[in-house]
Every structure is written in structure tokens, then in C-alpha cells.
Amino acid sequence: MGEEFKIEIVNPEKSFLSKEDVTEVVVPAFEGEMGILKDHISIISFLKPGVIKIFSKSGEENYYVEDGIVEFKDNNLSVLTSSIFNIKNIDKNKINELLKQAEENSKNSEITDQDKYLIDQKIDVLRTLN
């Protein structure tokens, strides 16, 4: 086969997920969604709120992230994030809670343009999940 690569998602508390049979990953990079296949060039980027899609032999998995950094090197994809949820397990209340919080934040006029952009993204993503 030879089409597979490794992914590791870590958050500060623990190693969240580690898989070795991944064929494709789509990450919500800061400048747009980015699909990563095997032998991608080494890259570092950071994430905006969105959904990480992981395609592997065992199927497709979706995770909601709020921020983070991705690094791809030598067919190892590392995702560092402080807030990540499996979409399968996330419940509606949690989404609503996050959405409400984000909407409140977006009303705050003191935030910078970049933060505003990130919050708007977050609201969009959460609405689609809802």
C-alpha cells in the first residue's frame, strides 16, 4: 500500500489520539482548509476553529478544534491543541454553550480584527454542527 502516514493529536493533559493507518487528513488551517496526504512537504501552520477530518482504513473521524498548531514532517502529522472534541461524542448542550459564549465575545468591540475573524469562524462552524 504505502499510502498511509501517522497522526498524533496531543493536548496539554495527554496524548489525545494516535493513529498509524491514516490516508488523508483535512485540517482547518488559518488560511483555509488544507488536505494532507502522504509525502506532503514539511509544513507548519496554525488552526482556526473548525473540523479536523481524519480518513483512515477504519473509516472517517471528525474532531472539532478551537485552536492549535499542525506540524507535518517525515510523514508524521502532529496536531497540538488545547481544545478538541470528538464530534460523535459532543452533545448539543455543549455546542450551544460554546456558541453562546462565542456570540457574546463577538459583540465585544475591543477585540482585534484577527480575533473577530476567528470568533466568526467559530460561530459558523458551531452553527453547522448544531
Binding site: 496531543v10 488551517a29 507548519i44 501552520s45
Partner: protein
């Protein structure tokens, strides 16, 4: 000389102290295992973070305009020290070791006539420092209420540091904590986090063939504040493992000392009991003889 009754009471009191220290040792041992696990689980994140920063900062094109968090303000006038200690006592030399290390650093700062600012995390550190350095302490933080160490707490501290840095409240930031080596050894650490010392960042992978999206500077300025929180979180994890380890060995030796004391007191008690009996016998015999 203590009477028999006194000795009896003392033996009882030492024994109940021993029960307490023994229980504390057990609790610390259980907590230690969890804390150690957490510290180990937290390592990949901070290691990866370090690696990425190392790669980024070596590949940075425009050194002049690099983020201030990496290079510093160009001055070294005001030093901010974050002293991380525990909220509870009875853990041997744990807190004193950190304080000792920090005080040596404080002395160096004041000898060089620089301005010192202190933030204490954990109430024990504040208690020990407030006598001498009351005027320098700008903030005291305690996470007494939260049972476990979570990233949000570390993030709070990190954000506060960055806010202060942006307000130009300090030039150099150093954190003090205990690094967990094993149950009996914890090494007090001082680690400079602003400006970041890239030479001290551990890591071996070195590769400048990265593609960056967006550019290095932007990623770095996004990443460095996160790194501050991560470093603090790491320090908090190491600290909690060290605290439990230190408490465990302190309570272990306390239990042992109590045992020794009970033995000594019991011997003394038996001896004086025998002496009293012998004395009584002699009195009876000599009384009978004189008849």
C-alpha cells in the same frame, strides 16, 4: 524524672502522631502515582511545542522584527519571577528548596540594582516570601480550590504574564519550580521563559526545509504566548509530582522516627516500672527484717 503516668501518655501521643503520618504517607503515595502519570502524559505536548519553536526560530528570516517574546525588549531592567509552590505544608523541604533557589536569584538581581517583581503561585510560597519581599510581590495566585491541575489554570497565569509584558511591566521573566526526578530527589529549577532562550530548548530535530503558512513571524507570534502557558503548565505538573514525592518521603521518615521514639519511651517506661517494683520489694523486705 517523668512519672509512669507521664510516660504512658507520651507513648500514646507519639503513637497517634505516627498513625497520622502513616496515613499521610499512604495518601501521598496514591496521589504521587497519579501526579506522575499526569506529568508524563503532559510531556509530549511541551516537547513538540519546543521542537516547533526551535525550528521556527532558527528559520526566522527577519531577526530585527521578530516577536518581542522571543528576543526580549532589548533591556534587562525589570525582572519578573514566578515562584511556583504548593498550597499545603508537611512536605519536607519541597517549598524551602524552591524559595532558597529563588532567594539566591533575587539577591543577584538586587545586587545588580535591577528592579524585582514577584508573582507567587501557591500560598506556601507567599507565606515564606512575604516577610522579606512584601514590596516586590505584585500578585499572589492560589489554586487551592481546584483539585486537579488543569490547563485552564496555567493559561490564566500565562495570559496574565503576557498582558503584563505587553504593558512593558517587565523585561525578563523567570519561573521557579521543582523538577521531579524521583521520589527522593526533586531538583529546584530556574527557567527563563521571556525572552526565550533557544539554546536551552531541548530538542534534536533540526530542519529548515519547512513551509510556513502564513509566514514564520505570524506563526511565532501566535505560538509564543501559547508556549508560555505550556511552560507554566509543565512546571505545575512537575511541581505536583514533586510535592507528593517529597511529602511521601518526609512522612515516611516521620513515621520511622515516631517508631524509634515509641521504642525508646517504652524501654524507659518498663525500666521505671521495674525500679518502682524493686523499690517496693526492698521496702517490704527491710520492713520485715527490722521486726
Amino acid at each position: 524524672m517523668a512519672t509512669l503516668d507521664d510516660l504512658k501518655k507520651r507513648i500514646a501521643s507519639v503513637k497517634s502522631t505516627q498513625k497520622i503520618t502513616k496515613a499521610m504517607k499512604m495518601v501521598a503515595a496514591a496521589k504521587l502515582r497519579r501526579a506522575q502519570e499526569n506529568a508524563e502524559k503532559g510531556r509530549p505536548y511541551s516537547e513538540k511545542m519546543n521542537n516547533i519553536i526551535l525550528n521556527l526560530s532558527s528559520g526566522i528570516s527577519d531577526k530585527e522584527n521578530a516577536p518581542k517574546l522571543l528576543l526580549g525588549t532589548g533591556e534587562e531592567k525589570i525582572h519578573l519571577c514566578i515562584v511556583l509552590t504548593s498550597d499545603r505544608g508537611l512536605c519536607g523541604g519541597f517549598n524551602s528548596n524552591i524559595i532558597k533557589k529563588a532567594k539566591a536569584y533575587f539577591k543577584k538581581i538586587s545586587d545588580e540594582r535591577k528592579i524585582l517583581k514577584i508573582i507567587t503561585v501557591g500560598s506556601k510560597g507567599y507565606d515564606q516570601l512575604k516577610r522579606v519581599y512584601k514590596d516586590s510581590i505584585v500578585e499572589k495566585i492560589s489554586f487551592k480550590d481546584s483539585k486537579t491541575i488543569n490547563y485552564l489554570n496555567a493559561e490564566k497565569v500565562g495570559k496574565m504574564i503576557i498582558e503584563n509584558f505587553e504593558k512593558k511591566e517587565f523585561d525578563v521573566c523567570t519561573i521557579f519550580y521543582n523538577k521531579f526526578k524521583n521520589v527522593i530527589t526533586q531538583i529546584p529549577q530556574e527557567q527563563q521563559i521571556i525572552p526565550l532562550k533557544t539554546s536551552e530548548v531541548e530538542g534534536n530535530s533540526f530542519d529548515d526545509n519547512y513551509e510556513f503558512e502564513p509566514d514564520e513571524d505570524e506563526i511565532l507570534s501566535n505560538l509564543l504566548p501559547k508556549n508560555i502557558s505550556t511552560q507554566i503548565f509543565k512546571a505545575m505538573l512537575e511541581n505536583s509530582a514533586s510535592e507528593q514525592g517529597s511529602r511521601m518521603s518526609a512522612m515516611d521518615s516521620a513515621t520511622r522516627n515516631a517508631g524509634e521514639m515509641v521504642d525508646k519511651l517504652t524501654i524507659e517506661y518498663n525500666r521505671s516500672r521495674q525500679a518502682a517494683i524493686t523499690k517496693e520489694l526492698i521496702e517490704i523486705i527491710s520492713g520485715a527484717e527490722s521486726l
